[in-house]
């Protein structure tokens, strides 16, 4: 473990995580709106926004699955030092990080049970860009309709069809974040 993994966390966790959570919550409450997160410098290939989500929401109670390139020594050490979150398999995770391709297939992630639909995974998907165009979104948090370039329309239709079970998604790109909860209908 080199000293790099000790850097890049919140310098004032109480205040910075409070501010960050408001962005994260607004994103989840209003699907397909973009929010800027800052104050963390996670090791590559984690984006700043993904790093802030990690520091704000993850700790020893949240098993994390790292998919593809983010499953590297630098990221694992950084997560362990800053959050203490255990790294686990996709089927046991509360949070998962990676690109869309690396996270496939979605069917392995926990979607909750009919009595406890909250016991489901939240996927933090690293995107090349966040574009507010393309697929049409409707549902709670969206006044009329919103648009977002989702990686795969049919995957989100399948996810929404399982409601109230399902996965919730954050999309990150650099320091920007958007969300798509299971309640959103994608066309």
């Amino acid at each position: 473990m080199d000293t790099q993994s000790l850097e890049g966390g919140f310098s004032n966790p109480a205040l910075q995580s409070a501010t960050a959570f408001r962005g994260v919550m607004e994103a989840m409450a209003r699907p397909a709106t973009v929010h800027v997160l800052q104050d963390a410098q996670p090791p590559a290939p984690l984006s700043v926004a993904a790093g802030v989500v990690l520091l704000t929401l993850c700790d020893t109670d949240t098993p994390i699955y790292l998919a593809g390139d983010v499953d590297c020594c630098a990221v694992r050490d950084w997560i362990t030092f800053h959050t203490g979150a255990p790294i686990c398999a996709a089927s046991d995770c509360a949070y998962a990080f990676g690109t869309w391709e690396a996270l496939m297939p979605l069917s392995v992630f926990p979607i909750g049970t009919s009595e406890y639909p909250d016991r489901s995974a939240t996927l933090v998907v690293e995107m090349p860009e966040l574009r507010l165009e393309g697929a049409t979104l409707t549902g709670p948090g969206i006044q009329d309709e919103a648009h977002f370039a989702v990686p795969d329309v049919s995957a989100f239709q399948t996810n929404a069809a399982q409601f109230p079970l399902g996965l919730d998604f954050f999309f990150t790109c650099g320091d920007r974040l958007a969300a798509l909860p299971r309640s959103t209908e994608v066309r």
């Binding site: 966790p13 109480a14 205040l15 995580s17 409070a18 501010t19 959570f21 408001r22 994260v24 919550m25 607004e26 989840m28 409450a29 209003r30 704000t56 929401l57 993850c58 700790d59 109670d61 949240t62 509360a94 049970t113 009919s114 009595e115 406890y116 639909p117 909250d118 489901s120 939240t122 549902g139 709670p140 948090g141 969206i142 006044q143 409601f163 109230p164 919730d168 909860p181 299971r182 309640s183």
Partner: protein
């Protein structure tokens, strides 16, 4: 600054509450269990709402607390002071200026906006609890969307009283899926739950549940075709500000049967009085 961590709770507790809030927003109307902490106030005084507020507050927020619509009652004053002391946030009594509003049993009269968060204090989060005391059963009923019992209860109201006699904590259905207890707000406030631009969060401390309504969520009050939902209120104007469209408290003013009706929302009433509106009981 104080010796408390920002907003009193430790960081791990806030992360746990924040994760519950996010799942609540993703599944509108579903009650997310959370590990409620003991707070420095008794159960029934808003420990759930306080924990939710502590998890969402930032130093830049302007915080308002109301108890039955009033900013100046014991519960509201003590919770406002609690966060002034532990979070150092600015506070206000003006609805329009507040970014986070913690409420006990009312929704403010003034329309809420996109930047606002309304935090409800909830005593009994389970709408089916008085019909079915077992948590294992009510959980199953929610999972199976088995809400017939609730309609039977409303029907029994009609057969006994001729109308649906439930006047507060009137059950609602969220996005045609979960039946939800809107906390003991008067049914007059129920229409304001639906399609609100603000984020609405509900915290029940003793019962250890958090649930949420994202903005622009469809919330319908349960009713029957031949007995449609009626958000009624006392049929009087406010005695102090003459408002015809606000929710009123009945106040006994002497021991000879004298009474007056005044707005339960003190900020709304004061603003109207300052604007020159005058009711028949105004000094």
């Amino acid at each position: 600054m104080t010796d408390y961590n920002f907003a009193y709770l430790d960081e791990q507790t806030k992360r746990m509450i924040r994760r519950a809030i996010l799942k609540g927003l993703a599944i509108p109307g579903y009650q997310v269990p959370f590990a409620s902490r003991e707070m420095p106030m008794p159960y029934g005084w808003g420990t759930g709402g306080v924990q939710v507020s502590a998890a969402v507050l930032t130093p830049e927020d302007r915080f308002k607390v109301i108890d039955q619509g009033a900013d100046d009652t014991t519960n509201a004053v003590s919770i406002r002071k609690f966060f002034e002391h532990t979070a150092g946030v600015a506070t206000t009594t003006k609805t329009a200026e507040a970014t986070v509003i913690q409420t006990r049993h009312r929704i403010p009269e003034a329309d809420l906006g996109e930047g606002q968060i309304l935090v409800y204090q909830v005593p009994i989060p389970e709408p089916l609890r008085f019909l079915e005391p077992r948590e294992s059963e009510t959980r199953k009923m929610h999972s199976l969307e088995e809400y017939g019992l609730m309609h039977v209860k409303l029907y029994e109201d009609i057969s006994r009283h001729g109308h649906i006699a439930t006047a507060y904590a009137y059950p609602v259905k969220v996005e045609a899926r979960y039946v939800m207890d809107p906390s003991p707000i008067p049914k007059f406030d129920n229409p304001k739950l639906s399609n609100s631009p603000a984020i609405q969060l509900f915290g029940a401390g003793r019962e250890q549940r958090i649930y949420a309504l994202p903005p622009y969520t469809r919330v319908t009050s349960l009713d029957f075709e031949d007995h449609p939902f009626d958000p009624s209120k006392a049929d009087h104007p406010c005695g102090l500000c003459a408002a015809e469209d606000s929710y009123l408290d009945e106040v006994i003013v002497d021991d000879a049967g004298g009474r007056m009706f005044v707005c339960s929302d003190t900020d709304f009433c004061e603003a109207r009085q300052n604007a020159g509106h005058k009711g028949k009981d105004a000094a």
